[in-house]
């Protein structure tokens, strides 16, 4: 019995040590533009707000990203032009990620799995550690999937797909406040020689 327990504990220890993951105490992001569309394919979008030089805002403080006017209607697609390099402070020290130290971590980094495009269709390729400024898409089309990375408005058919993330349509008949959620809980990875960010879970609330 003791032997089985010891083997079990050893297995658990190995499994938990396989990947050092922590959360963040600060996640700063820059948002250049937001658009909304009444169509599930994101066509015919209108700009809600836009800036060429956004100030980095800390998602932990529930910051204002921007605001703008929308006519009455049901909006089936929201899209955001963001800086893919987030400034992240790990909550705890985990492997190569040190608590309290700010890291510039790329979330649009895999040139084989991440692919984005502007709403007009201009392709944006992922480059590790380089600011590529992709778009992220949320809609209620059949192309959405939990495994999608949100970087494309249509599914590109790759193994871990660039495709839109799911959102519930917004029925705009009055002034409303919503949130772009970029959840980095247990996505800060210190298991390799450098601190990196795994794909965060993004959603609209």
């Amino acid at each position: 019995m003791k032997k089985i327990l010891a083997v079990g504990l050893l297995f658990l220890g190995l499994a938990s040590g396989a990947k050092a993951l922590t959360s963040a105490s600060s996640v700063k992001v820059k948002v250049f533009e937001m658009r909304a569309s009444v169509n599930s394919d994101c066509s015919g979008a209108v700009t809600i707000f836009k800036t060429d030089n956004p100030t980095p805002v800390d998602l932990m403080t529930n910051p204002l990203l921007g605001s703008g006017a929308l006519t009455n209607g049901t909006y089936h697609c929201l899209m955001f032009h963001i800086d893919d390099i987030l400034t992240v402070v790990p909550q705890t020290t985990d492997g190569s990620c040190t608590a309290g130290t700010a890291y510039n971590l790329d979330i649009f980094t895999d040139q084989f799995q991440n692919l984005s495009a502007t709403p007009e269709g201009v392709v944006i390729l992922a480059h590790p550690g380089i600011e590529d400024d992709p778009w992220i898409y949320f809609n209620d089309s059949t192309a959405t999937a939990l495994t999608n990375d949100c970087f494309a408005k249509v599914n590109d058919g790759c193994s871990v797909c660039s495709g839109p993330c799911r959102m519930t349509p917004l029925n705009e008949t009055s002034d409303q406040t919503h949130s772009l959620v970029i959840n980095t809980n247990f996505k800060v990875d210190g298991s390799s020689t450098t601190c990196v960010m795994l794909q965060p879970v993004m959603s609209i609330r």
Binding site: I48, V57, S67, A69, L70, H178
Partner: protein, 56 residues
């Protein structure tokens, strides 16, 4: 000068001036969106959408 005075006193101008004025007022109203909306046309309602950021 005499010609202008004669024109101002002419019966035709006295008849035409109010019609011309009414016409110009109507045209101006037609090109003013605010006035056009208040005239019973369906105004497009615009809402303010505020977007915040969140970590969870």
């Amino acid at each position: 000068m005499k010609g202008i005075l004669r024109l101002a006193q002419s019966r035709w101008l006295r008849v035409l001036a109010p019609i011309l004025l009414a016409c110009l007022t109507a045209c101006a109203k037609k090109h003013d969106p605010a006035a056009a909306n208040s005239g019973g046309g369906a105004a497009v309602q615009r809402n303010v959408i505020t977007m915040k950021g969140a970590a969870q």
